[in-house]
């Protein structure tokens, strides 16, 4: 298993500003994912961030809005840019072992409220 921490745990931000969320893993992992969970909804994959390559974004998510960095095998950041109230969600990072990519380990999440 892996232990994952996220910073900040929660934040309240003004419309039009940006927030960078950090994800730290206690071991080296290849596969890292960023999810969003809007109120009452399922977890939706934003992008896959594998070290050594550019992040792969899912339909409906773009790099300009959600830039991702993956500088090494234990760390990643997700930025929510030019925020609007619709971006209010819980943002979660997760990691997986390649040969068992269905068994993902999640961080505690970052609860973002945009006013």
């Amino acid at each position: 298993s892996a232990v994952i921490s996220q910073k900040p745990s929660r934040d309240i931000c003004q419309r039009g500003t940006s927030l960078t969320i950090q994800c730290q893993v206690d071991s080296q992992v290849t596969m890292m994912f960023w999810y969003r969970q809007q109120p009452g909804q399922s977890l939706t994959l934003i992008a896959t961030a594998n070290q050594g390559s550019e992040a792969t974004y899912e339909s409906g998510f773009v790099i300009d809005k959600f830039p991702i960095s993956r500088p090494n095998l234990t760390f990643s950041t997700l930025t929510v840019s030019n925020m609007s109230p619709e971006d209010s969600s819980i943002y979660l990072c997760s990691v997986a072992v390649r040969y068992r990519s269905y068994e993902q380990y999640f961080g505690p999440g970052t609860r973002l409220t945009v006013t």
């Binding site: 994952i4 399922s42 997760s94 990519s101 269905y102 993902q104 380990y105 999640f106 505690p108 999440g109």
Partner: protein
């Protein structure tokens, strides 16, 4: 288009009885099905999985059943305990470029004393 559906938003079960959580899916190409458990203010934790080539997988009090012809899976918890009160997410892995996992909306399970 919801590929993984959990039609019951919540379920209440007496402590000691069996909890059955249901899930339906639409994509025949899913190769693994999963259940995750989530407590408030925590991230989801992996609970149990089943390969699409099997129809049952058991791990202690947790058993997952897969009915491929009906595109249906269920999670059985026996006996139910107070610590089982949580939100349970059904999920499925779609093989592809990045092995994407698709989640249902979750079912909140309440274990009653």
């Amino acid at each position: 288009d919801q590929q993984v559906k959990q039609n019951s938003p919540s379920l209440s079960v007496q402590e000691g009885r069996i909890s059955i959580l249901n899930c339906d899916y639409t994509n025949s190409m899913f190769d693994y099905f999963l259940w995750y458990k989530k407590y408030p203010a925590e991230g989801p934790t992996f609970l149990i999985s089943i390969s699409s080539i099997k129809d049952k997988n058991e791990d202690g009090r947790f058993t997952v059943f897969l009915n491929k012809s009906a595109k249906h899976l269920s999670l059985h918890i026996v006996p139910s305990q107070p610590g089982d009160s949580a939100v349970y997410f059904c999920a499925a892995r779609s093989l592809g470029r990045d092995d994407k996992i698709i989640f249902g909306k979750g079912t909140r399970l309440h274990i009653l004393p």
